[in-house]
Structures are given as C-alpha cells and as structure tokens.
C-alpha cells in the first residue's frame, strides 16, 4: 500500500515550542500535539550550531549537499511511511477511542555530531535511549535511526548534542490530521459494512448467495485491515519520533575552519591535532 503523501508546509515556531509533551492521559494515543501552533508542518534547521545555543559553533561547516540529500531521504522515508509495519514498538490503539481531533503531527529530526570517540558515543546514545524509553531502529556504520518517545524527543536531542560538536541539526514535522480523520471515517464505514455483510451471510439461503457475500466480506475485511494497519503505523510514528543521527569522527583530516586568512597555521592547531584515542 502506498501511503498518501501529506501536505508539507513551513511553520514558524520557536525551538522551545516544538514537541510539547502531551498530557499523560492522552499520551498513548496522541504522542505529540501542538496546541496553539499554526497547524502547519515545520522545518527547523540550525547548521554549525549548538542546539541549545545556536550562537556557538560558527566554525563548523554544513555537511556536504549529497549528505544532506541523503538525510532528507531518510527523513522523507520515515515521514511518508514505509510499506512494512514497524513491529518492534507497536503502539496499541484502543478501538473506538478517538485520537485528539485537533492535531496529528509526526516529527522527525536530523542531527550530525562530530565526536572524538565514535564507539563510545554510540554506547552513550544507546544508554540515553534506554533511559528515555526509545530504541535504535537502524544502525549502519556511523549512521543511526533512533526512535524516541515524542515527549522525550527534544530532551534526548539536547542531551546528545552535548556529546560533541553539532555540525547539523534539523527538525521536520508532517501534519497528517486530514489523513488520520479520513482513515477513522473509512474504518468506521468499513466496520459497519463488515457487520452488515456478516448479517447477510447468516441470512444467505443458498450456497451461491453465501459465496457471493463471502467474497464481498473478504474484500471488505482486507480493506479494513489495511486501514487499521495504516492507522497503527501513524500512531506509532506519532508516539515515537524519529531521529536520523550521523556521527563523524573528529580529526585533523576533517573540515577545518577556513577564511581568507593569510596565516592559516592555527587551523592545524587544536585538540583534533593533538589528542589520542
């Protein structure tokens, strides 16, 4: 099933307003809800800066274009939704219990950190995730995809950002409220149809009639399962935000600050040039 692509818009919100934790009674179903925001999707990007202090870290360069495109693809994949179900951390949605009608927003972030010790950083990340109730969905070399409970999304990012130099940071949101509401309506209709077909099946007088109803019933059941699967996927994405994390090893061969400085000798002086691991 190809999930519908939700509309993407830009939202002007402050970092502190992002990812407001839902109230405890609605946490399971709602995950993230931004009361008081404009109702659009957002993209919040800080390049070469500290997450908590964007004025720091001006010596860093943004990652290369192909790397950023790659990160965008990862984000897009997670926001649009893969075909497969996320079975590692399914979020059970109590049936017939409506999700917050105001907003259904999925969040995904991208963080690139330069650290001296990549192996140790990975361990620290896994520890932080364990405490937050999240998990590593994928790890490939120095790239990781993390799933973090929505209320802990921002605190975990802040914590990870203290591990090294933040070379890139971005958050993207996707408002799927419209799709979610359509899905709920469709599920409701399909359930009614399903019940009616079951009644018709009971009332079938001949084998031919029963087979015909059964055929319709199977088709409706399949469609209902698909809709429920998509709903579960959206709930999962809403409850567990996604962070694409790239770790780079700091060293003298990495990017160095540059300018039109006629004496660039200091570029080669610093911790990166001197420290051993």
């Amino acid at each position: 099933m190809t999930p519908p692509v939700a509309e993407s818009r830009i939202l002007a919100i402050k970092p502190a307003e992002l990812l407001v934790a839902p109230s405890s009674d609605s946490q399971e179903n709602v995950g993230v809800s931004l009361a008081g925001t404009t109702g659009a999707d957002s993209e919040y990007t800080v390049e070469g800066a500290s997450v908590s202090s964007p004025s720091v870290g001006t010596a860093s360069r943004p990652p290369p274009l192909d790397q950023r495109l790659s990160e965008k693809r990862v984000l897009a994949q997670h926001l649009a939704g893969p075909e497969r179900e996320d079975v590692r951390a399914p979020v059970e949605v109590p049936e017939n219990e409506p999700v917050d009608p105001a907003r259904v927003v999925l969040y995904a972030g991208s963080l690139q950190l330069a650290v001296f010790d990549v192996a140790q950083a990975k361990q620290t990340i896994e520890d932080a995730l364990e405490v937050a109730g999240g998990y590593v969905q994928r790890m490939e070399g120095n790239s990781m995809v993390l799933r973090i409970p929505a209320p802990k999304f921002r605190p975990v990012i802040d914590e990870l950002s203290t591990m090294g130099r933040v070379d890139y940071f971005g958050i993207e949101s996707l408002d799927v409220t419209e799709e979610y509401e359509d899905l709920q309506t469709r599920i409701e209709v399909l359930r009614r149809t399903h019940s009616q077909l079951l009644e018709l099946l009971d009332q079938a007088a001949t084998v031919e009639e029963a087979l015909e109803v059964r055929k319709q019933l199977d088709a409706v059941t399949l469609e209902l399962e698909r809709a429920l699967g998509r709903q579960r996927w959206l709930d999962s994405r809403q409850a567990l935000s996604t962070l694409a994390l790239v770790l780079t090893e700091r060293g003298i061969d990495g990017d160095l600050p540059s300018s039109n400085d006629p004496f660039p000798w200091v570029d080669s002086i610093g911790l990166e040039a001197t420290l051993w691991r």
């Binding site: 650290v115 591990m163 600050p257 000798w265 200091v266 570029d267 911790l271 001197t274």
Partner: protein, 177 residues
Amino acid sequence: MKTTLLLLMTLTGCSSAFEMKTPSGFARVEREWDQITYKGIDDVGLRVDMFGNLDGGTLDFWTHDLTSKLGARGYQLVRRQPIASSNGVAGTTFEFVVDAQVGEHKFFIVSLFVTDEYRIVMQLAGDESLRTAYWSRNEEFANNLRIRGCHAFRSVCRGPTTTSSSTPRAAGAHSHY
C-alpha cells in the same frame, strides 16, 4: 613555504628546526622534519610543530594570532606564562579551557616559541582530570626542546612576552580560575 624551508635546511645542512628529547611517560609516534608527535601512557598527546616565520613575525604578533583564532573556535585562554626552551629561546605557554561543544572535557596547553626563522608550537592535550598534572610538567617538556633559527644581533628569540590576555571569550564561557 614549507618546501622552501626544507630546501633551505637541506642546503645549509640543518636536519630540523628543533630537536625534542622524548619525555618520560611518552613514546614517540611520528617524526617528520617539521613535526613530532608523542603519546602518553595516559593517552595524553604531545605534539611539536614547526612553521616558518615571516619578516616582522614576533612572539607578540603570533601570540595574538594564535589566541584570537583559537578563541574564535571555542578555546578560552585562562592562563599564560613565560617559558623558555632548553637553549633559551623565549616563548609563552597558554592554557585553554575548551567549551563542551569543542572539547568534550579535555585540557589543552600550547607553548609558542618564535625565532627569526621559525615558529615552534608545542601542544599538549588530554582528559580534563589530567590538566593540573600536565600544566606543572610543561616546563619539563620545554626543557627537552631545543630550537634553532636564531640570528645573531636580532631580538626575536629573546621575546618579549606580553602579559595581557586578549582571547575573545566564547559566549557563556567562564574561567576555572
């Protein structure tokens, strides 16, 4: 510039602008004509680099260049003191506190020596917990260092060293001292 220096040194029979005796507790990792690196048993790095000097380049001039550029990169200068190599070339040692974004709780100590021909930079870096121990050992390392490139009747090798601290303070940075 380095090629010219190498050629010059080859023609004049000089092997290097400096010599370093391996300090106790360290092993030499690499030795090139313009650089030498050591690794301590506690993972502290000790590195000496040679750069050519330029006409007008004094200890004061390069001190300002070094501290202001490192300051812009998040290295906050907290202390400095005069130092001398084993053969009396004047220099200055700078101790930096590195902000968390840059340093991950590491110490960084740099000693700069300037002769008529060369700038010699001795860097020390390691875990924050070793800061005090290595600050006090810095003079010992300088005593293991012999620097060439001083011309007779010129004053570059004799300093003077400045006393004022001009490192731009990183936002939110504070001194440990």
